[in-house]
């Protein structure tokens, strides 16, 4: 049982890292960024490139993944979202634009690296097993859980306590007012995309380390999970996204453990049923604050 809880926390951590970046862009700019899975995948490939071409250690590769995908996020914004923002297009347009962008990048990666699974160079990843009680725990995963929590704490700090964070929050509240208050809106948007994509990229690299199998479509399964996570936690709330991620991770595994074998097939229905219920009963999610427009 303890082992399953550990599994759940690991899954939740990966969901959280993915969803937090996704939620950040949504909360600040109201954009559902369907290219986020692409950023996630690119992170894994950047790490691969660093390790196989330059022989860098995994830790440095992860940092490189953060920086490169962060910059890529700014590029993504300039290309796919900025033109729409300038003319005040509805959020739906941004969603479709990012979808087109994602198709292009995934296909380019498939043409370059092949659609098949790729692995990190042998021996480049730490392999330790930690014995906790009678449970054997993969050291790498423990490290990843720790890193995920650390990164989310850092994000919380940046958003809550720095000038940049205040600018981003002002932007999220009301872009026009933010501009009037002297916030450098363009810089805040760029920062939002840098942080969001950087986190997504690190998540991809870490996940790549954990499974040692990366491929161009690897981010796609997380998209629907991220929706669920955001809705359950509360759209536009970063702590909500983290909470939602762990709830989903634990819920999925609890459904696996406690459902009788004949109903095991219904496990996913529980996740999405949960999503649906939350929306109907409490549309703003557990920690959210604005789902239903007021009069």
């Amino acid at each position: 049982m303890a082992e399953q809880l550990y599994n759940a926390i690991f899954v939740g951590s990966i969901y959280a890292l993915f969803a937090v970046g996704f939620a950040l862009v949504f909360s600040v700019l109201d954009i559902l960024n369907l290219a986020h899975p692409v950023v996630f995948m690119l992170g894994a490939f950047v790490a691969l490139f660093c390790m196989s071409t330059f022989g860098l250690p995994a830790a440095i590769a992860a940092v490189a993944a953060f920086l490169v995908t962060g910059l890529f996020g700014i590029f993504l914004d300039r290309l796919a979202f900025a033109p729409l923002r300038r003319r005040g297009a509805p959020p739906l347009s941004a969603m479709i634009s990012s979808l087109g962008f994602a198709i292009v990048v995934i296909r380019l990666m498939e043409l370059r690296y092949g659609p098949d699974l790729t692995s990190y160079p042998a021996g480049s990843l730490p392999q330790t097993v930690v014995q906790i009680g009678d449970a054997r725990v993969d050291g790498l995963r423990l490290l990843i859980i720790g890193l995920a929590i650390l990164l989310m704490a850092a994000l919380t700090y940046v958003v809550r306590a720095t000038q940049l964070g205040r600018d981003i929050r002002a932007l999220a509240e009301n872009p026009r007012a933010a501009r009037l208050l002297g916030v450098d809106v363009d810089r805040a948007i760029a920062a939002t995309f840098f942080i969001s994509s950087g986190l997504g990229g690190v998540a991809g690299a870490l996940l790549g380390f954990a499974y040692n199998a990366i491929y161009p479509q690897m981010g796609t399964p997380y998209e629907l999970k991220a929706f669920t996570v955001m809705v359950v936690g509360g759209m536009g709330s970063l702590p909500g996204a983290v909470l939602g991620a762990y709830i989903l991770g634990i819920g999925e595994i609890a459904a696996l453990v406690f459902l009788p074998a004949e109903l095991a097939e219904l496990r996913d229905a529980f996740a999405f049923g949960l999503l649906f219920l939350v929306l109907v009963i409490r549309p703003r999610g557990l920690l959210g604050h604005r789902a239903v427009e007021r009069a």
Binding site: F26, D30, L32, L34, L79, A80, P83, L84, R87, A89, P91, L92, S93, I96, S97, L99, G100, F101, A102, I103, V104, R107, L108, L111, E223, L224, F227, T228, M230, V231, M235, E265, L266, D268, A269, A271, F272, G273, L275, F276, L279, V280, P283, A291, V292, E293, A295
Partner: protein
């Protein structure tokens, strides 16, 4: 004429799928026109497809009746769903309907009579091209006429400003629900036609990707008029065939075209037709001056 016959023979599936996608795009257009962003139409399509196919194969229900019953079933399910999500707007509604879609997909993978992951195979191919295009013509005409009616105006008013619309005597909930249910029934109708188009269906055909596709057809085509979704579905469905010579690069071009349309044609592909009109007006103007 011979060349045309040949063309139709080769591309009859593509032509059929274009018509079905146009119907699907119109199904989501109805809700968009009423200001609701739904991503549940793939699930309603699935209900229509499985409904029509199962009724025909297991119970021997005639094809047209199967279509009607599939659409009816879908509408019946849409009613309570619409009531449940009625308060949600924008992206929240979209995500709630995604949740519904996934639940439907998981059920199709689980229920004893849906063939699970294997789907339904050996569905008799009863759908003729004229079924699809007759449906499309009728639906397009009806929607075009509805646009100028009290109902169409009420939907547009709700889309523009729900609060103000309520003050004009529009029963918001009833009209939103009507749009939602009509969209669900139409999507199911298209689903029933598609199930009988080519032998087999499986749950994977009706997932998130499909839901997004349907929405993309409508939005890329342009939502202001009925023509937009039809145009969008036609072009985007034909695109893989048109881009076939590009071989492994065709996805890239499809993606770029998607971005290009969204960024440079704010009102969708129908803007192209309008542009041509204005240019002609300018030419006439120029002639006057000369």
């Amino acid at each position: 004429m011979d060349a045309l016959g040949e063309f139709v023979r080769v591309y009859q599936t593509t032509i059929g799928v274009i018509g079905i996608n146009a119907l699907l795009a119109l199904s989501v257009w109805i809700t968009l026109y009423a200001g609701q962003l739904t991503l549940g139409n793939a699930a309603f399509m699935a209900i229509g497809a499985y409904g029509a196919a199962l009724l025909g194969m297991r119970l021997g229900v005639p094809f047209p009746l199967g279509l009607v019953l599939g659409a009816g079933l879908s509408a019946t399910l849409a009613l309570p769903l619409g009531l449940a999500v009625f308060r949600l707007r924008g992206v929240y509604l979209a995500i709630a309907t995604i949740g519904f879609g996934e639940v439907v997909r998981v059920l199709l993978l689980t229920l004893p009579f849906t063939g699970k992951a294997l789907g339904l195979n050996g569905i008799p191919p009863l759908t003729e091209l004229w079924h699809i295009y007759l449906s499309l013509v009728v639906v397009a005409y009806v929607l075009w006429r509805v646009q100028g009616s009290t109902v169409g105006r009420a939907w547009a008013a709700i889309r523009e400003d729900e609060i103000a619309a309520a003050s004009q005597g529009i029963a918001i909930r009833r009209y939103k629900l009507a749009a939602f249910v009509a969209g669900a029934a139409l999507a199911a109708w298209a689903g029933g036609l598609s199930a009988h188009l080519n032998f087999s269906i499986e749950p994977g055909d009706f997932g998130f990707t499909r839901a997004v596709q349907i929405l993309v057809y409508a939005v890329v085509g342009g939502t202001p008029s009925v023509a937009g979704p039809i145009l969008g579905a036609t072009l985007l469905t034909a695109l893989p065939e048109i881009l076939r010579p590009l071989r492994e690069y065709r996805d890239i071009f499809a993606g770029l075209i998607l971005m290009g349309v969204i960024i440079y044609l704010p009102r969708g592909l129908v803007t192209l037709a309008e542009l041509r009109k204005t240019r002609r007006l300018q030419e006439i103007g120029a002639a006057d001056v000369a």
